[in-house]
């Protein structure tokens, strides 16, 4: 175990101690203790920057299950480090924010920080693991801790609904991804991502290649809320705001992005990968931004905005994957898309985190997040307003903030898609810049709406529960730091270029050993198509924002019945109802039905086995002759059995049953089994006495009232059982594969055991163990009967039934 492994496990270890800190140090907000860890980890991960800058990734392995090739391998390259810094950095800010957001008195802080630390550790594990199985374990841990965090206020219905929904969708994707990883293992014989990347070009024609890709993508798309799996994200907004800021904007939803980026080197040679990633991404971008405009809840706007921005990053990764089809870096114009993806990933984490925290402050200070009730808060909350303004303008892509830079590069990447002459991009590629441009207009509109509907307009104090005022300074620190980053990156975009962005690009697109990507981000490119597109976005966006009330009715065109949420809810209900109906259709509660299934299966399985294996052999040679006594006894037994069946009074039935038993004893006499005959006689007598004793207290056997149809089924099945037994008996009798071991007992009974009655010697000597347990059976039966008769609990009121 190296320090790196401990760094990943540290949050889990601290989570163990959090309940004690919470319980015994009540005076101090538990968050302060937790805060130390992400800060430490952030500083710890910073020291790896020189390694990744020089292209020296760090690999540390600890054996876990070596026999299955599952080992805890930590791999730090540019991409992992970027994510690790995001997770710990934003994690620290979120913990700081939550200290002021969550009340020490009212909230169960112990739970909150345990879940949050679990999540942080799991997320670090996802981005730093090289072994796919270990990655999957941490992946499911993120789903689980996210589930717990969404349902943090578990007494609310909506929280539980949102938690369940996100759990079902992300775990569905997680399972698919596990299947995809296993297929990858079958193709490459290794779970190590690095080794899979090395042999990736050889497996592209493998029949498992496409299924593995689709399954992995399903996992990534569900986690990263891509269309049509984004529906869990808006419902996850029931979580406390620090959770939304951390999980559902900056980190967890980017786990899918991470998987796509990480495995680009494996799958990018296939055109399907490029089409799927870029296509789903661009449509999610458009759909998310289109739907964000109609939301009236601040967090819902941000949720749809997150969906759309994740789609943006995803589509850029898809276009960036085209780079793999070029061998020379100079003519490769598609690396810019990957660059834009990483740059936007960072930018999005900064401004979206700040915006979520801003919404949390508004919610905290006014008691509502509904923009129809909010307005005119600018004068009351000037600092919060500034944060919201900067964050929103960056999200909308307005200079001089960082969102502008990544949006310009995004347009560049999408315009390059049109120039691509591979895989039918020359015909359909034109959709990419068009959808991107439309989505940017809607992004612009909802960004403006977010700020101006909240902070300008009419102040409506009568609709608010609380009297709003500026938030405490502690709550403002984190969003201020984040918007400062928005501005700093906006003005000095190249400070991260070679420290973070270039190593991360090199991790996604491992092109050449000595080549470095050229990363230089400018504000001013000259009069390029991108610039005109941005001007168009601003102009049309402003106009549409101004006339928002006029055209908002188009959202009503989309029928409520056809929404994905309705589909999800309806699907769940249908699933439950169908399985309920199916279960009730055969679990009738009547024992007769279950016996019919059992016997029918017995008959069908054995008959078909006999038929298919050609097992029915009847050989009449070597049979014993039929004597007159046996003939009479057989007839008597069959008649007695039929009398049992047709008896109308119980006495007749019992006596006929006794006749069958005594006839059996006579058969034992004829077939040379004296001990059996004795036992059978005694036991039949006792049984008949018992039957009579019990039946004395019971009602008369009634006429069978079953309908004929039921009788017919019973008859068919019981005749079937009889036929099967007879046929098996005949064919078993006809095929004797080896001699009986009877000779041994004949020889050894007297010589070794000293007895002449062979049956008794077998019972008490050769196979005495059976006898002992049979005595035990009788003892248990006797005790059970005694207990049933003697031990009775009194009937209680409202006893079952």
């Amino acid at each position: 175990m190296t320090l790196l492994h401990w760094a990943i496990l540290a949050p889990f270890l601290l989570a163990i101690f959090v309940p004690f800190l919470y319980k015994y140090l009540k005076a101090i907000h538990t968050g302060w203790f937790v805060l130390l860890l992400p800060v430490t980890l952030f500083i710890y991960f910073l020291q790896f920057l020189p390694n990744t800058y020089n292209g020296n990734p760090i690999i540390e392995t600890v054996n876990w299950i070596p026999s299955l090739d599952i080992n805890f391998t930590v791999y730090v390259d540019g991409l992992s480090l970027l994510f690790a810094l995001l997770i710990t950095g934003i994690g620290a800010l979120v913990v700081l924010y939550s200290i002021y957001y969550l009340s020490k008195k009212r909230e169960a802080l112990g739970n909150f920080y345990v879940y949050l630390l679990m999540f942080m550790g799991a997320m670090l594990g996802v981005v730093l693991s090289d072994n796919l199985m270990v990655l999957y374990v941490f992946w499911e841990f993120t789903s689980l801790s996210s589930f717990l965090l969404i349902a943090y206020w578990y007494e609310r219905d909506k929280s539980r609904y949102g938690a369940l929904k996100s759990m079902l969708i992300t775990v569905l994707g997680g399972f698919a991804m596990l299947a995809g990883f296993i297929l990858l293992y079958l193709m490459t014989n290794t779970f190590s991502v690095r080794e899979i990347v090395e042999i990736a070009p050889t497996i592209i024609n493998h029949p498992f290649f496409l299924p593995a890709m689709l399954l992995v993508l399903l996992g990534a798309f569900t986690k990263s809320a891509q269309f049509p799996f984004y529906i869990w994200l808006p419902d996850a907004m029931e979580a406390p705001t620090p959770v939304s800021a951390y999980l559902h904007s900056a980190t967890m939803v980017k786990a899918g992005i991470y998987i796509v980026a990480r495995l680009t080197a494996v799958f990018a040679l296939a055109p399907e990968w490029i089409w799927l990633v870029a296509g789903f991404g661009i449509f999610t971008l458009f759909w998310g931004s289109f739907n964000a405009v109609k939301q009236t809840d601040l967090k819902s706007i941000l949720a749809f905005s997150t969906v759309s921005q994740l789609g943006l990053i995803m589509s850029l990764l898809g276009i960036g994957a085209v780079s793999f089809h070029y061998t020379h870096l100079e003519e490769n114009i598609y690396t810019v898309a990957t660059l834009a993806a990483i740059f936007h990933l960072i930018n999005h984490a900064t401004f979206k985190g700040a915006l979520f925290m801003m919404v949390g402050i508004v919610d905290h200070e006014t008691g509502t997040r509904d923009i129809r009730k909010l307005g005119g808060l600018m004068g009351l909350m000037p600092i919060t307003f500034t944060i919201a303004l900067i964050g929103s303008l960056s999200m909308a892509g307005i200079p001089p903030f960082n969102g502008f830079l990544s949006k310009e590069m995004f347009f560049t990447g999408m315009l390059r898609a049109v120039e691509l002459d591979l895989f039918n991009f020359d015909t359909w590629g034109i959709l990419f810049p068009i959808l991107a441009w439309l989505a940017s207009i809607f992004t612009f509109i909802y960004s403006l709406k977010l700020v101006f509907h909240t902070f300008t307009g009419k102040y409506q104090p009568e609709k608010l529960d609380k009297k709003p005022h500026e938030a405490p300074i502690g709550m403002l620190i984190s969003p201020i730091i984040l918007v400062s980053l928005v501005i700093i990156i906006g003005f000095f975009p190249n400070i991260l270029s070679y420290s973070l962005i270039e190593p991360a690009m090199a991790a996604i697109l491992p092109l050449g050993l000595d080549e470095r990507f050229y990363v230089n981000i400018y504000h001013w490119h000259g009069f390029t198509p991108e610039l005109y597109m941005t001007i168009g976005v601003v102009a049309i966006g402003l106009a549409m924002y101004y006339y928002l009330t006029k055209w908002q009715s188009i959202y009503k065109l989309h029928p409520e019945k056809l929404t994905l949420n309705k589909f999800y809810d309806g699907g769940l209900i249908t699933l439950e109802n169908t399985s309920d109906k199916f279960t009730h259709s055969y679990m009738t509660g009547f024992i007769r039905d279950y016996l019919v299934y059992t016997f029918a299966f017995f008959v069908i399985a054995l008959l078909s086995a006999m038929y298919m294996l050609d097992a029915l052999v009847i050989d009449f040679s070597g049979l014993a002759p039929i004597g007159i006594y046996e003939g009479i006894l057989s007839l008597a037994m069959v008649i007695a059995a039929f009398v049992v069946l047709f008896a109308k009074s119980r006495l007749t039935a019992i006596i006929a049953l006794g006749v069958v038993g005594y006839t059996l004893a006579l058969f034992f006499v004829i077939f040379r089994a004296p001990d059996l005959a004795l036992t059978q006689l005694v036991i039949e007598t006792v049984s008949v006495a018992l039957f009579l004793l019990c039946f004395y207290h019971l009602p008369k056997l009634k006429q069978e009232l079953n309908r004929v149809r039921f009788r017919a089924v019973n008859l068919v099945i019981s005749v079937g059982v009889g036929i099967v037994v007879t046929l098996i008996a005949l064919s078993a009798n006809s095929t004797r594969l080896f001699e009986s071991i009877a000779e041994y007992f004949v020889e050894a009974s007297y010589e070794e055991a000293g007895g002449k009655n062979m049956v008794n010697v077998i019972l008490v000597d050769f196979r005495g163990f059976d006898t002992m347990l049979e005595i035990l059976v009788l003892g248990i039966a006797a005790l059970g009967i005694f207990a049933m008769i003697k031990l009775r609990t009194k009937k209680e009121e409202g006893h079952e039934n």
Partner: protein, 113 residues
């Protein structure tokens, strides 16, 4: 002989199964008793019939009947007796407590809470 016995066993199984599929608890128990008779007879038949003297060494015969199936049947008789008597008392108790021996009425309710 073995063919005849197989047929008898088949008839015992048929009637036993038919009784088990009826509604009355009592008939079900009678059915199980018939089934166990059938099974014991089947065990004996499968060992081969009338092939020597009773398995008692004092008889000084040249051939003896196979003693092993007889030991097995003896064990089975005792066990089925134990189970049948337990079943009978169970039926008796069920009738006393619940007032019916109709299996259709002895059905669990759907509202398992």
């Amino acid at each position: 002989m073995e063919v005849l016995m197989s047929l008898v066993v088949g008839i015992l199984f048929t009637i036993g199964t038919y009784l088990i599929l009826t509604k009355s608890f009592l008939r079900i128990i009678i059915g199980t008793a018939l089934l166990s008779h059938g099974a014991h007879l089947l065990l004996l038949t499968m060992a081969g019939l009338k092939r020597g003297a009773a398995p008692l060494l004092g008889q000084n015969a040249q051939y003896y009947t196979d003693p092993l199936p007889q030991a097995l049947i003896l064990t089975a008789i005792v066990i089925s007796f134990g189970v049948t008597s337990f079943f009978l008392v169970l039926a008796y108790r069920a009738y006393k407590e619940l007032g019916t021996d109709d299996m259709d009425k002895l059905r669990g309710s759907d509202n398992y809470e």
